[in-house]
């Protein structure tokens, strides 16, 4: 069995920087991000689009990058957790998670941060139901979600 496919050239913007890469057609967006671009903040937890540890923003929308082919992101704007802090200063959402103990092992956190950033960009003053729905696709095994909800409420309040 030979799987020697021609590589596909892609151009995309990652955390504000343009980049040109070549990938195997089967490469997942998360593999491109982690393995080729060495942005290891985005994690893989389940492979079946359940846990959301791999969540990134693709053209502003939160997507699970384990379920997007890298070639689908050609020409797109990708934001990962590494793109949140600016000049060493935490993004308000990162600050809110850190201040409210909204994480323990930190494995799910990058994905949750991206879903939260998306939520607050769309709904700066989200209702509780909107908050819950926004992170319904992000599994956290450590926190029982209590402090994550608290962090998101705090981030929303800080953004007002």
């Amino acid at each position: 069995m030979s799987l020697a496919f021609d590589k596909v050239p892609l151009q995309l913007t990652v955390n504000g920087k343009p980049c040109a890469v070549e990938v195997e057609p089967r490469t997942l967006l998360v593999e491109l991000i982690r393995e080729q671009l060495n942005l290891t903040g985005t994690h893989v937890g389940c492979d079946t689009t359940y846990c959301g540890a791999c969540t990134v923003l693709l053209n502003g929308r939160n997507v699970k990058s384990c379920t997007v082919l890298a070639v689908q992101a050609d020409g797109s704007d990708v934001r990962t957790v590494e793109g949140l802090a600016t000049e060493g200063k935490l993004h308000p959402v990162q600050e809110a998670y850190a201040a409210n103990h909204g994480l323990q092992c930190g494995f799910c956190t990058p994905g949750l941060l991206m879903s939260t950033v998306r939520l607050l960009e769309k709904h700066p003053k989200p209702s509780d139901q909107q908050i819950r729905k926004a992170i319904a696709g992000n599994t956290c095994r450590c926190t029982g979600y209590q402090n994550i909800l608290k962090a998101i409420r705090a981030a929303a309040a800080a953004g007002k």
């Binding site: 069995m1 030979s2 799987l3 020697a4 195997e24 089967r26 982690r34 060495n38 942005l39 290891t40 903040g41 985005t42 994690h43 893989v44 937890g45 389940c46 492979d47 079946t48 689009t49 359940y50 846990c51 540890a53 990962t80 957790v81 590494e82 949140l84 802090a85 935490l90 990162q94 600050e95 998670y97 850190a98 201040a99 103990h101 994480l103 323990q104 092992c105 930190g106 494995f107 799910c108 956190t109 990058p110 941060l113 819950r132 729905k133 992170i135 319904a136 696709g137 992000n138 599994t139 956290c140 095994r141 450590c142 926190t143 029982g144 979600y145 209590q146 402090n147 994550i148 909800l149």
Partner: protein, 821 residues
């Protein structure tokens, strides 16, 4: 006497809800998880796994895989077996005959068991080539039910001659007399605690690098009990413990499930050795994790009889328990004794008899999942007390109050010699009732019942026994060379006076770096941000003992005691040195921070020396130091030894655990009349873990343990079909609890300091799986009037529907009350 160590009670730093220092790197996505590592020349390993639960291996053909692009080696189970010794078994007798190799050799014993391993230049190449490995199986009858396993009609390990790997009788007090004198005897048929796993979000990962020159192996891994893993790997691989270097950095959750990864570690090490020492990386997929990492123990409870006096006070319990440990015992049969840490639960009964058996089955091997072995037993006791209350018409809160150990009875010696340190269960119940609004819900329940709604209130009283005495292994196997408990830590002043702490623990999100800094800051009277804590675990830091790992709810006691001890040693050395330099008595010194950083000064003067000056004197400028101070190293290692003795093996008697944190949860639940879905309407969680070192971290652990319990009670279940196929091998099928299923928690607390730890803390974090007991009790309350006995720890809309229809696959147990008074 300012240079005396500060009092252990709440101080400047200890007891404060400090923000964790771990958060900074983790919210930036800068955690360092195993999967993130890339090493020069690194290769990737992919396992070929059995699709069968139980089958003979007739042929393994790796020829096609070997010629696939990028493939360097393919290892079969038989090849691996030729190069290693089987892993040691903890158990005696039948278990001692279990042959556990890192991969299957003659037959496969659970779905997902590795039969071959492909090593290639890339992960894709390894995955592709794994598809080319041909294996011929001859299917055998799978053993999937603990009670059927006892019949030995099909054997998991043929050479054992039996599926039983451990059996023991536990008897305390005067059981027969208590039954003779009982006013009421309640008999309860079969009950079952289901199989689940806390499934850390990061799967297991290993990078093994064999150094051919030194004949040593370096493991960077997610293993959370590396000292234990090394003791298994060393004889299997024929390598001395000192040549096994264990390192871990950030670990994406563990919950005990990451303790038993030594078989995979062995395969990676052999592959690296075979390939001249190139690093070999293995990253588990979620499906591999679900099929073949570890699950929690499944337990069946049979023939339970409960003796009670006329007031509903339990005087004796007898029962028969069968624990299913899956295909290979590995960490087992320790679970056959660990439940006995909490033998009477929160209750006062003195007479107890259980016939305890552990069997193997054709399911994934078990591992010590959060709440390990105690939660199964506590669930059993909570079902017993709850069912007895309902049967005897005693309200379930009153039933518990009548049976709780009284606060004035602490320290309380249990029938089997465990010493409960402190607690106040009745007060916790009161707090929880207040938080949940018990009386209000009782009123609403009356109304709901009139409307035909199924609404119930349930209580769960549980214990999280922490700091285990490994001497309990002797009760399982009198020759087991284990006992006690210890942890090591190191605190030093480095050359420029930096305070550096090396942890002997393996944190996976519990904030050890933060609490360690708090403790050292308290001793040296400097802010925690002036303390460097080395993250992660590394045997090269030399701060491990054979007990080193993160398990058994103990860091606040054992880990912090070690760190505290090392900090005290350093403080004493600093004081001696500073007294010499400052020409003062040690009693005249005080510790603190001056203009030149952390320092020691003579009280009421401007004479001081900072840490740089002190470290300089010892490390760089030591000709100025007199020879009688040559023993001062400013590099202090301390090993904490827990105050344990070896238990009495014959009587199965002794103190098995040092501290007993307690949880008291109350749930209000309603079963939907159309969908039969159980829904949580209100939830209160009260926790007592003694003195809190960092209340923020404690609260986080309470939340997390509660979510695991709620998920396990209502959603998460490792389901196997009759052929032994695991039906929940992805997250989409297993459905770990999400925010949509997680209720808001009303949390409260109580602090009864432990008299047995230097800081009054009790280990915590496992949480006793309190929600399982609580939710089952609430469902019992909702459904008792419909003649439903809650007899399984997992309840879903589906199972409740079938129970109400009377067509459950496993029917409810017969409950019988004999009233004799």
């Amino acid at each position: 006497m300012n240079n005396q160590a500060p009092k252990p009670e709440k101080g400047t730093w200890v007891g404060q809800p400090l923000r964790r220092r771990e958060e900074g790197r983790l919210v930036r996505g800068q955690g360092l998880f195993v999967e993130d590592y890339k090493l020069q020349g690194m290769l990737y390993l992919q396992f070929v796994r059995s699709p069968y639960a139980h089958a003979r291996i007739d042929r393994v053909d790796v020829s096609k895989a070997l010629t696939a692009p990028g493939v360097l080696a393919v290892l079969t189970g038989a090849e691996v077996a030729a190069r290693v010794q089987p892993f040691i078994e903890i158990g005696p007798g039948a278990q001692g005959k279990v042959i556990d190799y890192p991969m299957a050799t003659d037959k496969v014993r659970y779905q997902g068991e590795p039969v071959a391993a492909v090593v290639a230049e890339s992960r894709n190449a390894a995955e592709d080539a794994a598809e080319l490995v041909e294996v011929e199986y001859h299917a055998l009858v799978p053993v999937l039910d603990a009670e059927l396993a006892l019949k030995n009609e099909s054997l998991v390990h043929d050479q054992n001659g039996s599926n039983v790997v451990w059996h023991g009788n536990f008897e305390y007090g005067e059981v027969d007399k208590a039954f003779q004198e009982a006013a009421n005897i309640v008999s309860i048929g079969r009950m079952h605690f289901h199989r689940f796993s806390s499934t850390p979000l990061e799967n297991n990962g290993i990078i093994a690098t064999w150094d051919p020159k030194k004949e040593s192996i370096h493991f960077l891994s997610t293993n959370s009990f590396p000292a234990f893993a090394a003791q298994f790997l060393s004889p299997a691989l024929g390598v001395g413990i000192d040549q096994i270097q264990m390192e871990s950095r950030d670990i994406g959750g563990g919950f005990g499930i990451k303790i038993t990864t030594y078989p995979q570690m062995a395969v990676c090490a052999l592959a690296s050795k075979q390939l001249g020492g190139r690093p070999v990386k293995w990253i588990e997929t979620r499906t591999e994790h679900m099929l073949a990492s570890a699950h929690g123990n499944e337990r069946t409870f049979l023939d339970t009889r409960v003796a009670l006096d006329k007031n509903g006070v339990i005087t004796a319990i007898e029962s028969r328990h069968i624990d299913d440990c899956g295909a290979y015992p590995r960490y087992e049969p320790l679970g056959c004794i660990i439940w006995a840490q909490v033998l009477p639960g929160a209750y006062r009964f003195r007479n107890y008899r259980v016939d305890f058996t552990q069997v193997v089955s054709n399911k994934c091997p078990v591992g010590p999942n959060r709440g390990y072995s105690r939660m199964q037993h506590l669930w059993f006791l909570e079902r017993v007390i709850d069912i007895c209350g309902h049967e005897l018409g005693i309200p379930t809160d009153e039933m518990r109050l009548r049976n709780y150990i009284r606060t004035e009875e602490f320290p309380y010696t249990t029938p089997n010699g465990c010493i409960y340190d402190s607690g106040n269960y009745a007060r916790m119940l009161e707090i929880a009732k207040g938080l949940v609004g018990w009386d209000g819900w009782k009123e609403k329940q009356k109304q709901a019942r009139q409307e035909g709604r199924m609404l119930g209130l349930g209580i769960g009283s549980t214990l999280d026994s922490g700091t285990n005495n490994f001497g309990q292994a002797r009760i399982i196997n009198a020759f087991a060379p284990y006992s006690g408990q210890s942890k090591a830590a190191n605190v030093k002043l480095d050359i420029y006076g930096e305070v550096v702490v090396s942890l002997g623990s393996v944190p996976q999100g519990q904030g050890h770096e933060t609490t360690a800094a708090q403790v050292v800051a308290e001793v040296l009277r400097v802010p925690p941000d002036m303390i460097v804590v080395r993250p992660g675990f590394d045997t090269e830091h030399n701060v491990y003992t054979g007990h080193t790992g993160t398990y058994a709810s103990q860091f606040a006691v054992t880990g912090l005691s070690a760190i505290h001890g090392a900090a005290e040693k350093l403080r004493a050395e600093i004081a001696r040195l500073a007294a010499f330099v400052l020409k003062a008595k040690e009693s005249e010194l005080e510790f603190g921070v001056g203009k030149m950083g952390p320092e020691v000064r003579v009280k009421g003067t401007d004479r001081s020396i900072n840490y740089w000056g002190l470290a300089n004197l010892v490390n760089v400028n030591n000709a100025e130091l007199p020879m009688d101070m040559a023993d001062i190293t400013l590099n202090c290692r301390y090993v904490y030894k827990a105050p344990f003795a070896v238990p009495d093996v014959e009587k199965k008697y002794g103190n098995l655990t040092l501290t007993y944190a307690a949880q008291l949860h109350i749930a209000v639940m309603e079963v939907d009349r159309e969908t039969y879905q159980p829904k949580i309407l209100a939830y209160a969680a009260v926790d007592d873990c003694g003195t809190k070192i960092n209340p923020l971290i404690v609260e986080g652990q309470v939340h997390g343990a509660t979510a695991h319990g709620i998920g396990a009670a209502l959603m998460e279940n490792c389901v196997y079909d009759p052929e032994g196929n695991m039906l929940t091998a992805t997250f989409s099928d297993y459905t770990p609890i999400t925010v949509m299923n997680m209720p808001d928690l009303a949390c409260g607390g109580l602090e009864t300091p432990s008299p047995f730890s230097y800081n009054g803390a009790k280990g915590m974090g496992e949480g006793g799986a309190a929600p399982l007991h609580t939710i089952c009790a609430a469902l019992q309350d909702a459904l008792y009037s419909r003649k439903i006995i809650i007899h399984d720890s997992h309840n879903s809309g589906d199972s409740i529907f079938h129970a109400l229809q009377g067509d459950s696959a496993k029917p409810a147990p017969a409950v019988h009350v004999e009233r004799r008074a």
